[in-house]
């Protein structure tokens, strides 16, 4: 979709072995292009979450390299976990303020910025609520707001909507696409859902079962991501393509467990 092809982050020959001897990733090559919405699609246990954690710097690769455009210092990452992962003792406002606070920011000075981010996810009037007072979907919105508050270059999401009901998931999918277009950031989205990855992404990277490697790639070209796209023939065709790619990735003679 006309993005410059400079990768914001590149993985070359990345391998990850855990202490137990399990090989989660093997010789993974991946370029995340500036401004794209990229999905990592694969069966559970294929190491896609491990890949995301390596990109985030939460996990060190056993082999290979991770190169950031402009160097490691200004990675500029937002991370959304599978669970909302909020601090239950803090209000929505303070949860979203957390990344700024850890960076040494002054609370009073940053309140407008936090409120602005909360409005983007439609939760401005819940600033003083506690997480337990919110629904699952709203908690996930708070989590997304927290990831966005630092205006990250890259938003990393690890199956963020997997635990939500379908209606909430569809709504959050639409809101996420809108935020991505509006903020012009790069998104790396890990999922095991073919439908979700086709609906959201410009590019899908399909991964093989453990140890995880790139099996194939699929570009999704759709002018709009909306209800019409979701019911269109193109969408169905893309879903079939992605399904087939996933099926062949799982058949690939890679390793023992799939």
């Amino acid at each position: 979709m006309g993005h410059p092809t400079t990768p914001v982050v590149s993985l070359r020959g990345v391998g990850k072995a855990f202490g137990t001897g399990t090989l989660a990733l093997d010789r993974l090559d991946l370029d995340v292009r500036t401004g794209e919405f990229l999905s990592l699609l694969g069966p559970s246990g294929c190491g896609k979450s491990t890949a995301l954690r390596i990109i985030a710097g939460l996990s060190e690769p056993s082999r290979g390299s991770v190169t950031w455009q402009g160097g490691d210092a200004r990675r500029g990452i937002g991370f959304v976990f599978q669970e909302p992962t909020l601090m239950p003792w803090a209000t929505v406002l303070d949860n979203v303020f957390l990344p700024l606070k850890l960076g040494g920011a002054d609370r009073a000075a940053e309140i407008p910025r936090v409120m602005d981010t909360l409005s983007r996810v439609g939760l401005a009037e819940f600033a003083q609520a506690y997480p337990r007072e919110l629904s699952g979907g709203m908690r996930m919105r708070v989590s997304i707001a927290r990831a966005l508050v630092t205006a990250p270059r890259v938003l990393l999401m690890d199956e963020p909507f997997a635990a939500l009901d379908e209606i909430t998931r569809f709504k959050l999918n639409d809101d996420l696409v809108a935020l991505w277009r509006e903020l012009g950031m790069t998104v790396v989205f890990v999922t095991h859902s073919v439908f979700e990855s086709v609906y959201l992404s410009e590019r899908i990277v399909v991964m093989t079962g453990r140890p995880g490697r790139v099996s194939s790639e699929l570009a999704i070209e759709a002018p709009n991501r909306d209800a019409r796209f979701r019911t269109s023939a193109e969408y169905a065709a893309y879903c079939r393509l992605a399904s087939d790619a996933l099926a062949s990735a799982m058949r690939a003679p890679q390793g023992a467990a799939a």
Binding site: W89, L98, L102, T150
Partner: protein, 260 residues
């Protein structure tokens, strides 16, 4: 009748029946007060000896509260230290356990030899009370959500920020549970030490009054002092439960469930 009323009325009825039975047994059998005083006599003694009992109560309460405060400070302080340094934890934890498992009744006479009496009594209260605070706080500090811990790492949080903004708030429920147990134990420690000290011939706390009344066969006063001790324990328990509820009610499930 709703649940709430039942919770108050049922134990109150048991209390009334028990007191009536007690009174009846004393009257019917003509039991002399130096063996078993009637409930009425115990209440009259409580009023008549109030000035002595009140000053004794204050003495015991002071020891208990001081012991509890030191236990809270020491328990949380040690837990934080253990959490920050494996070496310190491995070096000191066994001794904390030894201090906990050795009966305080057995330690008290020794402490009374080496320390001034008031300090020895306080030390006993502290010894029994600090361990639940330490153990519970340690558990709380170690059970932080690992994703939240990752998030703090992602944003480059300092050690201090992780402790102050993540671990300590997350450990609050366990910490408060430990403090609630410590409140009762601190009273027990104070009483044990006072009894030990009393038999050494000095003291002024409620437990000392009980021991003293025992020697003098002043059984009504023994009962009166015992009632005051129980009431003190109950008040401490409820005060700490209230504190816990107030601190947790907005966010923690334990307090939320109680609100429904």
């Amino acid at each position: 009748m709703n649940e709430r009323m039942l919770r108050i009325l049922a134990p109150a009825a048991v209390l009334a029946l028990g007191v009536m039975a007690w009174d009846l047994v004393v009257r019917v059998n003509g039991i002399p007060p130096y063996i078993l005083p009637s409930p009425g006599l115990v209440m009259r003694t409580l009023v008549a000896d109030w000035s002595i009992l009140w000053s004794s109560l204050l003495a015991t309460l002071t020891t208990t509260v001081e012991g509890l405060l030191l236990a809270v400070v020491g328990g949380i302080g040690l837990a934080v230290l253990f959490n920050q340094s494996r070496l310190v934890e491995h070096s000191l934890y066994p001794y904390a356990v030894i201090l906990q498992v050795t009966p305080v009744v057995a330690i008290a006479p020794l402490l009374l030899i080496y320390l001034p009496q008031q300090a020895a009594v306080l030390a006993c209260a502290w010894i029994v009370a600090f361990f639940p605070v330490l153990a519970n706080t340690t558990l709380g500090l170690n059970s932080v959500d690992h994703n939240l811990a990752d998030l703090f790492r992602l944003y480059g949080a300092s050690r201090w920020q992780v402790l102050w903004e993540l671990k300590l708030p997350a450990a609050q429920p366990q910490m408060l549970a430990g403090i609630r147990i410590a409140g009762g134990l601190s009273l027990i420690g104070a009483v044990v030490a006072e009894i030990a000290a009393g038999s050494a011939g000095a003291g002024s706390g409620l437990a000392y009054r009980i021991a003293e009344s025992g020697y003098r066969l002043n059984i009504p006063r023994m009962f009166a002092a015992l009632i005051l001790l129980s009431v003190t324990g109950i008040v401490i328990f409820f005060a700490l439960s209230l504190l816990s509820h107030l601190l947790l009610r907005r966010w923690h499930e334990s307090a939320v469930a109680a609100e429904r």
